[in-house]
Symmetry: C2
Subunit: 350 residues, 2 copies
């Protein structure tokens, strides 16, 4: 099977009449027309084997995640998904793998009315690059730079489960099977908060998505807005779904001899774990009711984890308001230099 057959078989779909995409896969360019008065929001993410996923990843889940992480960026801007391109380097043509990957990818795309309009395929070490396009009314995009002193600091959904699952899959800790299954779902099939992002237009003063870890990402928002923040680490840590909202250190970890300090592990996962794909946003305290309504429209929970302050810097406190000194750096693709390639994905293997 050649390159052209591959595109035709797995990735070509008719352009939907009346949509923003006017010309899809098969010409030199795709053509896209946002509605009048709309700006185009664009984001690009590259996923590399051994870095963002394991070689034996479920291809259907990989297809889902590759698009989900891009849709999460559109959500963070309050943009409505329109279309995407896919560039794919494959070491070989494995038809069952491709069929499964395409199924995961296009099922999520269809759920968001986001059309695959073009791309590229080539031979090479497995690499997926998706560029996604959304539209947002001129001037209404949610940016990182709008946070103001006194604003509430919010985060959607859950934090830390993906990081917890990754550590379990890496053999760093053992989790009960049903807990691992739930956390793994968050790692492999993140839910982009598109509807919440749309609902937060005109309500949130700033927004971004949490992909590299809460505190590391928050630092970028604070820098872009030239403000500081105080964050309640205990509240953030209760957002780990696998901990059932209990105080850190609950029984799922107590029995684990590898983790003398379960509380610290959970806190690290929640504050700096990465791969959450939740929305981190700010809004004036007067908009709390509006934020609650937006959360309902977005079919997700939102939690107030702190407050924006004029003084630059990020201050971490516990539930009693006591300062926490620990440094929880976010994930940086060039600092976190561990040899992921060598890692096994079987839960519990060391």
């Amino acid at each position: 099977m050649g390159e052209f057959d591959l595109i035709a078989r797995y990735f070509t779909r008719p352009v939907r009449p009346g949509g923003a995409a006017l010309l899809g896969v098969g010409d030199d360019c795709a053509l896209l027309a946002p509605q009048p008065g709309m700006q185009l929001a664009i984001s690009s993410d590259m996923l590399v084997e051994g870095r963002h996923f394991f070689a034996d990843v479920n291809p259907e889940a990989l297809g889902h995640k590759a698009l989900a992480v891009n849709l999460s960026d559109l959500a963070a801007c309050g943009a409505q998904p329109l279309a995407f391109t896919l560039a794919l380097a494959l070491p070989r043509i494995d038809q069952p793998w491709l069929a499964s990957f395409a199924h995961g990818l296009l099922t999520l795309a269809d759920a968001h009315g986001c059309q695959l309009i073009g791309g590229d395929t080539t031979q090479g070490p497995l690499n997926l690059c998706i560029t996604v396009f959304g539209q947002v009314p001129a001037g209404q995009a949610l940016l990182r730079s709008g946070a103001r002193a006194g604003d509430d600091l919010w985060v959607s959904g859950h934090l830390g489960d993906a990081a917890l699952a990754l550590r379990a899959l890496q053999g760093q800790l053992a989790l009960p099977e049903h807990i691992l299954a739930q956390a793994r779902q968050r790692l492999e099939r993140p839910t982009p908060r598109v509807a919440l992002g749309l609902a937060l237009r005109g309500i949130a003063s700033s927004a971004m998505d949490v992909s590299d870890g809460l505190l590391g990402d928050l630092a970028h928002l604070l820098q872009a807005s030239a403000v500081g923040a105080v964050v309640d680490a205990d509240i953030a840590t209760t957002l780990i779904a696998a901990s059932h909202g209990q105080t850190p250190g609950n029984d799922i970890f107590d029995t684990n001899p590898r983790h003398p300090d379960a509380q610290e592990l959970l806190r690290r996962c929640a504050l700096a774990g990465g791969d959450d794909y939740e929305l981190l946003f700010t809004a004036a305290p007067a908009r709390r009711q509006a934020v609650a309504s937006a959360a309902q429209a977005g079919a997700t929970t939102v939690t107030r984890i702190g407050q924006i302050q004029a003084q630059p810097g990020l201050r971490l406190v516990d539930g009693q308001g006591q300062p926490l000194a620990r440094d929880y750096a976010g994930f940086d693709h060039f600092k976190a230099w561990e040899p992921v390639h060598a890692l096994r994905t079987t839960a519990g293997s060391a």
Copy 2:
């Protein structure tokens, strides 16, 4: 140096006021606003080490080429370049390499007023994915599907030099140094025919860019237009710049003991060599003067190499109109399966 420093140092530039890009590198999404009445043309290309370039490629040339191949797709649609995103997987952070790569990339970008508005960087086997955005007045994009029986078949500039240089660098043939230097320029620093593409709006009935070899690409245009064509192989072969327009088999090859059949080699390079990044287009015979003017506006030559016919299929003839039976398949990234990784880039090494 972490991921964020890398982006800041090499790839962040202020957004140009008054341009289509409203928000560049640094937020979750970039924002782009095509002018009213314009459609957005989008193309994405992925370049992989060992497949599209050698490990010891000049990074400045690589930066140029990575964008050039994408601009060539915009040219083929008659679109005006606006902006692009860059996703980059790097095995390690090599600052001199990155500085040189960024210089080659951004110099070409500046020459076309095409702004880098976003992207991604990660660790992994070297891989570059660029997605480029251009604008074209609604309904005026040049497509592959508009060729009609009786149309002239044209190609811009030169053909085959990149393929010739690649074979020389692979040690398959020896070229005089000044000839190799000239051909290598075409391989490593292709010139996207953006101005020609813009000038051909309303003149060409169909267009595409020649990236995978003339005949293989032409087959896609013929299929999209449901027509056939006759192509004069001898005229096409004279488009090899390194042959100085002479009859194939000229003296630069006569002295080469590795090439008993220099004419056949040149013909293969011109007809199926790939990496040309020229425009292949059709226009009614009544538009020959307009095509000549467009070529002048595009600062390139154009050559009539054949004619579109109603009968499907591609018929190759020589200068005397005699049918040529040889099959010149285009380059297919999954069919051309030679182990490029193992190849040396020193000219003349076997």
